[in-house]
C-alpha cells in the first residue's frame, strides 16, 4: 500500500489522502498515523481518494472510522477496546454524513463493503475531485 498526500484549496483547505493498493490489518495503522500527522499539521478537512485502492478489509473500515474521530479532534479509540471504548466516551451525536472526512471514487467492491456495513451512511462519496473539494 502506498500513501500520498496532496493539498487542494476549495472554500477551505482540503488534504487529499490517496491510498493505493491493498488496505487490511497489516497496514491500516499506517493510514491512521498519516491522518494523525495531517491533523497535527493543521488539516481539518480530508478527502480520502480510493480510486487506486483495489482491496479493503474491515480493518480499512476501522481506519476510516478512526480518521473521523481524529478529524473531530477526538482521540482515536483503541480498536481492541471495541464497544466499551465508545460507551466510555459517552458520545450521543454524530448521525449522518461526516462533514470533515469524505471519500472519492471507491471501486465497486469497496463501495459494496461500505454499503454492507452501513458505513456509507456516514460518508459523502464523490466521483469528481473538483466537486469533492468544493463540497467542504
Amino acid at each position: 500500500m502506498d500513501l500520498t498526500i496532496e493539498q487542494a484549496q476549495g472554500r477551505v483547505p482540503v488534504a487529499i489522502l490517496r491510498i493505493k493498493g491493498a488496505l487490511d490489518a497489516s497496514n491500516y495503522e499506517d493510514v491512521i498515523v498519516k491522518a494523525r500527522e495531517l491533523y497535527d499539521a493543521g488539516t481539518r478537512h480530508l478527502l480520502v481518494d480510493m480510486a487506486e485502492m483495489h482491496f479493503m478489509s474491515s480493518s480499512g473500515l476501522v481506519a476510516l472510522h478512526s480518521i473521523v474521530m481524529l478529524l473531530r479532534g477526538q482521540p482515536s479509540p483503541d480498536p481492541e477496546m471495541g464497544w466499551q471504548a465508545f460507551h466510555a466516551l459517552g458520545h450521543d451525536r454524530d448521525t449522518g454524513k461526516q462533514p470533515h472526512v469524505k471519500l472519492l471514487n471507491p471501486q465497486p467492491k469497496i463501495r459494496q463493503i461500505l454499503q454492507i456495513t452501513n458505513m456509507d451512511e456516514f460518508f459523502e462519496i464523490h466521483t469528481d475531485l473538483q466537486t469533492a473539494v468544493a463540497s467542504f
Binding site: F55, S58, H87, L89, H91, Q98, N118
Partner: protein, 152 residues
C-alpha cells in the same frame, strides 16, 4: 489436505499478502467469477486476521488454508491451532447506531456472512479450529448458444 491446493504460513499479519496471492491464484485457475474471487479474498482475509489478532493474539502460530472446487461451488478451509473459538456464534453488529457509538471492529464476521453462502466451524480431531466457507455459483454466466451456433 490436498497438497496441491493448500498453504501453510506463520500466523503473522505480514502473511496476509501470501494468503491473498494463494487464494487469488487458485481461484483464477478454477475460472471462478472475478466478483466471487473478490468475495473469497475478503472473507479469507477477515478469517485469517481474526485468527492472528484474536486467536493467537499475535503470538507465534500457524494458519493453514486449503481450497477445492465442488461442482459449481468452491470450498475453502482455514485452520489454526489457537484456543478454540467459534466466530460463527458472534453476534451480528448493530448497523443502525451513530458512528461514534459503533465499535471499531467486529465487521469481519458480518462481511463473511453477507458474502459467503455457508460458513461453518468445527474443531478437528487433532484440536485445530477449522472454518469452512463455501461459495456457490462461482462460474461466470456464459451466453447460451443457439442450435444454429449464434449467441443470444
Amino acid at each position: 489436505m490436498d497438497a496441491s491446493s493448500s498453504l501453510r504460513v506463520a500466523a503473522e499479519l505480514s502473511e496476509l499478502e501470501t494468503i491473498h496471492r494463494f487464494v487469488e491464484q487458485h481461484a483464477t485457475a478454477l475460472r471462478i467469477d472475478p466478483s466471487a474471487i473478490d468475495d473469497l479474498l475478503l472473507v479469507v482475509n477477515e478469517i485469517a486476521t481474526n485468527s492472528i489478532l484474536h486467536g493467537y493474539r499475535k503470538q507465534p502460530g500457524t494458519i493453514e488454508v486449503a481450497m477445492r472446487p465442488i461442482g459449481d461451488a468452491v470450498e475453502i478451509c482455514v485452520r489454526d491451532h489457537a484456543p478454540p473459538f467459534d466466530p460463527t456464534q458472534a453476534l451480528s453488529p448493530d448497523l443502525h447506531v451513530p458512528l461514534a457509538q459503533r465499535p471499531l471492529g467486529g465487521m469481519g464476521v458480518h462481511l463473511a456472512r453477507q458474502l459467503i453462502d455457508s460458513l461453518t466451524y468445527h474443531i478437528t480431531p487433532d484440536g485445530w479450529n477449522e472454518l469452512t466457507l463455501v461459495k456457490y455459483r462461482i462460474v461466470p454466466h456464459l451466453p447460451q448458444e443457439e442450435p444454429d451456433g449464434s449467441n443470444n
